[in-house]
Subunit: 282 residues, 2 copies
Amino acid sequence: MATLSRLNKIALLGLGAVGGGLAYYQMGRSEKQYDVHNSWTTNYTPSVKWDKNWDHREPESIVRPKRSDKPEDENKYNEQIEKAKSKAVRHLFLIRHGQYNTDGLTDRERILTELGRQQADLTGKRLSCLDIQWDLLVRSTMTRAQETASIIAKHLPKDIEVTDCQLIEEGAPIPPEPPVGHWRPEPKQFFQDGARIEAAFRRYFYRAPPEQTKDSYTLLVCHANVIRFFVCKALQFPPEGWLRISLNHGSITWISILPSGNVVLRCLSETGHMEPKYITSR
Amino acid sequence: MATLSRLNKIALLGLGAVGGGLAYYQMGRSEKQYDVHNSWTTNYTPSVKWDKNWDHREPESIVRPKRSDKPEDENKYNEQIEKAKSKAVRHLFLIRHGQYNTDGLTDRERILTELGRQQADLTGKRLSCLDIQWDLLVRSTMTRAQETASIIAKHLPKDIEVTDCQLIEEGAPIPPEPPVGHWRPEPKQFFQDGARIEAAFRRYFYRAPPEQTKDSYTLLVCHANVIRFFVCKALQFPPEGWLRISLNHGSITWISILPSGNVVLRCLSETGHMEPKYITSR
């Protein structure tokens, strides 16, 4: 019985998607009879709904429901909702480390190249001239990220809070779709890194807590796979699409999390602050 | 009967997604029993498959199937597949126009501001120093895009081919998800603009035809909604997510379409070539 009712529910959801349009997108090309293109132009329903409670901080999901429809209960409830609401923007700046010695056998040998240090320096300069009051600098514990962050920090106020984080070390977040031939980590790598990088996402990505009154600006110096996975997750795009994005060394990716829980990508892989001769991605 | 078998197929697809992971993503929070987080770490199937034939140019979809398994038929087939294959990269640079007079009542009054002209000039300079041999400059026919393109063109070789395109004028591509309060075009606008902007996507986004031997570089000077919709469509992310992206005036967004049909986003809303005082987005 349980199974049957589940099937029915999923079937109904499936049909909803067909009616609404991009079933095509969800199901792939193999189900040709469901290829409904552009049907939003006649009768639109989104193919994928935005999950408002993605960070488990949506006030309605936290506050105890109204006891009754009496005005005093309603007022109390509304007050508590208001108290639970986020009031500020959390800005996250995701910085990829500079170019490094890929021939190194251990992490400690994978240090920045001369060019990599220059990239970090140029990015530090750019960040400093944005006239932002940084709240926190988080550094991946891998050598190339630590080096990059140290060079960047030279351009930032001396009193900036700095923390090291192992969760944002480089890794294999989730098998990419479409798969690519030249990059095929072992399943156990996705198994271990995937959970870690998901944990990192949940550590840093959430709307501002209600007690935060000022917009905050956090710098995370980390790695290409981690940042690309974060971008897909934060925008609620399919996370396995992360390898459709390419990031330059030392690039700036800026994501804002609004009080509503909505998320905005403001730039991605920005290295316009570098002369073209400094730009590399591998 | 037909209905039943459809239901079953969708039900199976739905279950596949649950087994594979991000059912949560596809179905939203309302179906709590299907919230399976991180299950790719145990048994991974992508939540959404990449559509390899998105531009209807996948060789296997064009070439007539093998007549038989005889070696001569096989050879002939393989030859034709080889001939139908794309051999070069198509690079598309999507430029948003500069800041403009939003108080203008007609398009002709919505001309660039002084700052908007400076932004266009800085972006032209940046594009010229990338050392790229541009093949084509496409300009939206709206005044602010025409002005921006003219200023940019001053920095490009005089012999660059220029075309005007009405399909890439600004509009309402598809109702955004999540919806936003301050921007609610009428249904008829989505109805008309949606089909036009989809047509624009199909005009400019496709892998290089087999006869193209050299990588090509196309500049499209157009508009924020159009560019954001293009990015989502090209990456096969849900197109209604386009408003989760913000684009600066005069910004550069770079997408590469590989011979395999795979698509790479190289940067988005890049304005690092401007001093911060020149950067605006509204």
